[in-house]
């Protein structure tokens, strides 16, 4: 151990010998070579080039596990104290690679194939044919258009959630009861919401809401009969489920605002609206942006209510990208095309969320 250097962060400075370094490298690269070899042999076996008769990909998985273990040990052998630090992070990183990156790469390879599970010929590489099919697929773009409308509705949801959060942050009677009561819809599964609300309460003839609508003068209430009303009904059901999520986040933000700030504004003569608009709302911007971004992510996954209540109808008016992919994948066993649609959707989401986060960052940056 040498006493010089960064004593604050480095407990010990190891003197790693050359043979030990060689041993570390051998451990890492040897196990990596084994992994490559096993994976290559399995690939050849699957392709029918050699006849190992392996029933599954477990040998490659075991080789990956062995390499991951050797990599971790190798870091310590190779780098000593620095290597030990890496071992704190490396297993998590390798696990993520195994659980996210591998499936993504596998998904990409499927996305560029013609793979209908009913086809006798199995999976065939078809270049950009799936992309061309997607480009000309009116169902996909219709669903994508619907998603824009669904996402736009988040602004209304945000306004309602903010109003409810302000209400629950105020000194009102039975505040705790209302906080719990308003959270209840969030505790329900969207499938339960689909059946309880969409299929029962909104049932056109005997549903209580239909009866109420008739009592109020709507002769023949139909909540899913026209494209516009059906879309709005789906939006309302989804909003009813997830507004509490935004509300609770905004409520937490409101409670974190120092009371002195609003009191100071009032002392300076600001009325309730000016206090809200000039003090509360700007201070809530970071929380608001976070709530909206999280809600967008939830909204982009919208499928269960649509699948259960309208199956995308009438005429695709309520279809979402996810519910369309579900039909393409599950009902039509069109794995190659369905995977491509999902990958494209993922890319679009990543791009859109990156842009939104940049904008949000700019929006919430303190103005000087």
């Amino acid at each position: 151990m040498t006493p010089e250097g960064d004593l604050l962060h480095v407990v010990t400075r190891d003197a790693i010998s050359a043979p030990r370094r060689a041993m570390g490298r051998l451990l890492i690269w040897g196990s990596f070579g084994l992994l490559v070899l096993v994976a290559a042999l399995q690939a050849l076996d699957v392709a029918g080039q050699i006849g190992l008769g392996l029933p599954n990909w477990r040998p490659t998985l075991y080789a990956y596990g062995f390499w991951a273990t050797c990599l971790c040990i190798g870091q310590v052998v190779l780098k000593g104290e620095q290597g030990k630090r890496l071992v704190f992070v490396l297993p998590a990183a390798l696990f993520t690679v195994a659980m996210v990156v591998f499936p993504l790469v596998f998904g990409l390879t499927i996305a560029f194939t013609d793979w209908n599970l009913a086809s006798l010929t199995g999976r065939r590489f078809n270049g950009i044919d799936n992309m061309a099919q997607m480009w000309a697929d009116p169902f996909y773009w219709n669903a994508m258009g619907n998603m824009v409308l669904y996402v736009a509705a988040i602004l209304v949801e945000y306004a309602i959630a903010f109003g409810l959060a302000l209400l629950l942050a105020a000194e009102i009677r039975a505040r705790r009861f209302f906080r719990v009561a308003f959270l209840l819809p969030l505790m329900l599964s969207p499938v339960a919401v689909s059946w309880m609300i969409g299929k029962s309460m909104l049932e056109a003839r005997f549903g209580p809401l239909a009866r109420l609508a008739r009592w109020m003068g709507w002769d023949s209430p139909s909540f899913f009969g026209s494209p516009e009303i059906a879309r709005i009904t789906i939006m309302v059901m989804d909003a009813w489920t997830f507004i509490p999520l935004m509300m609770i986040m905004l409520l937490a933000g409101l409670q974190a605002i120092p009371r002195e700030l609003t009191e100071a504004a009032r002392v300076d003569g600001a009325g309730p609206w000016k206090t809200f608009w000039e003090v509360t709302f700007p201070l809530m911007l970071p929380v608001s942006v976070t709530a909206i971004l999280i809600r967008i992510i939830f909204k982009l996954k919208l499928a269960d209510i649509v699948i259960n209540v309208t199956a995308g109808g009438p005429g695709g008016a309520t279809d979402t990208v996810t519910s369309f992919i579900f039909r393409e994948y599950r009902d039509r066993s069109n794995v190659g095309y369905g995977t491509l649609l999902a990958i494209v959707y993922l890319v679009l989401i990543v791009i859109a969320m990156t842009v939104l986060m940049k904008l949000a960052d700019r929006l919430t940056r303190p103005r000087t």
Binding site: G225, T310, G316, S333
Partner: protein, 547 residues
Amino acid sequence: MKPELYHYAVRRGLTRRRLLQGAASAGAAAALGGVFTGAAGRPAWAQGNLRAEILKIPGVGMGSPTDADWQKVGELCLGPTRERVAQGEFAGVELTFMGLNNQNLHNFLFRGFLKPWEAYTGARINWIDLAQADYNARLQQSIATGTVDFDVLEMGAPFEGDTAGRGLLDEMPDWVKQQIEADDLVGYLQPPVGTWAGKSYRVTIDGDCHTFAYRTDYFGDGAIGGPSVPKTWQEVNAVSKALVGKTDPLTGLPAHGYLDPLKGWGGFGFYFLENRAAAYVKHPDDPAWLFDPDTMKPRVNNPGWVQAIQDVMDLIATTGAYPADQINADPGTTAFSQFLAGTGSMLMWWGDVGSMARTSDTSVVGDVVGFGINPGSDRRYNSRSGQWEDVANEAPNMAYIGWGVYVTARVSGDEKKRKAAWSAAAHLGGKDISLWMAAYPSGFQPYRNSHFIYEEWEAAGYDRAFVEDYLGSNADSYNHPNAAIEPRIPGIFQYYSIAEDELAKGFAGQYKSAQETADAIAAAWERITDQIGRESQIALYKASLGM
């Protein structure tokens, strides 16, 4: 029998006298010991009247059968197995059985039936239980990824193309045909159903078809629907339009005619357009009605099919013909939320809707339901000549064809295991055990000619009128000479699924006409055929039609 139907039959047919008779006979049998306890010293198959004996387990009106009852029936019906398999012959053999675990019993029942078979033969069965919704995906994925991990499979005939067509099934040995007395199957379940390229693969355990249910209070002298029940789709549409503005005699709400499901149902919704279309396009001289068997060119956009779509569009365009929100009604809605709740007067459905009319707590139409076969047409379209013919036509739709038990090719290389698998399948599909399955809750409908001996049902405690009504509607459909049989080709539900999507657009007015809607379906079907492989589809389609 569908469980609901059993309860319906019990409620409808069981009198106090019969209940006492049943209890007395059960008591007497129990006093004698043996048969009902499964501890008989003499072999079960030696009994003089096995069929009558098993129909007394547990006895109509004695509550739903339990696992103990299934085991008793399985034990009593082991005779044919004992004739072909020595005791303990399959010791050490392990089989994996994949089937359904839904509310209609299926695997639960099979477990009970096969327990005495396992005890006698020495084989052991491992079970893969699937929810109905997961079944198709699990089967397709197993096939596509080469991970078929089951030896015996409960499967619907529509999937024969996906399995037999790929050589994944083991051919049925001749001794199995003899054991299950395959000649007893009703006509439409005879080959080519259950066969591919002349080889048999299926032990049939079920029959399926759509029958016509109607409200008896809508039809008759002075009734709002007219003096007689519609017999053709033309009459169905005319009545549906004429009922607009009238009041339902039962509920006092607006009256409606036929209930078309206008929303998709995972592919199953297409069966309901088929009901209409079959009457127009299923020509008695031609087994094909969905595709041209030589080219796989879809017939779904020929004038007959277009007429069926147009019929639906006509009713959509007639304000009040359908209930509000019909555009969002799937088949489940039309049957259970509408028809049984007193909305609408005519419906096509599988065999259980009539029974639920009596047994479901939400039903209000229990006393006013009648049955018939699929309505016909006063003209038919001949695909070969490309002309309409002014000849009346009827074509019951054998939707789904029913369940069967199949053995996979996994056992083909091991003769002992193969014999064990087929023995298990044959036990489930035996002639006598099938009568019990038809008469008690099992999830399966009658499917043998011997199931229509009304005296056996009556002797078991069923009401004769009920039996004749229920069995008669099935028998008339099964035995119809022009039944529309489902094509058993790979990916058949893919065709149905995309058709549902296109129909939804057509019904929502996004296409200009019925013809344009039908053309869109045909184009989508062509793409699926090309993707799956046209030549193989042609070959498999012909094989499924027995051509």
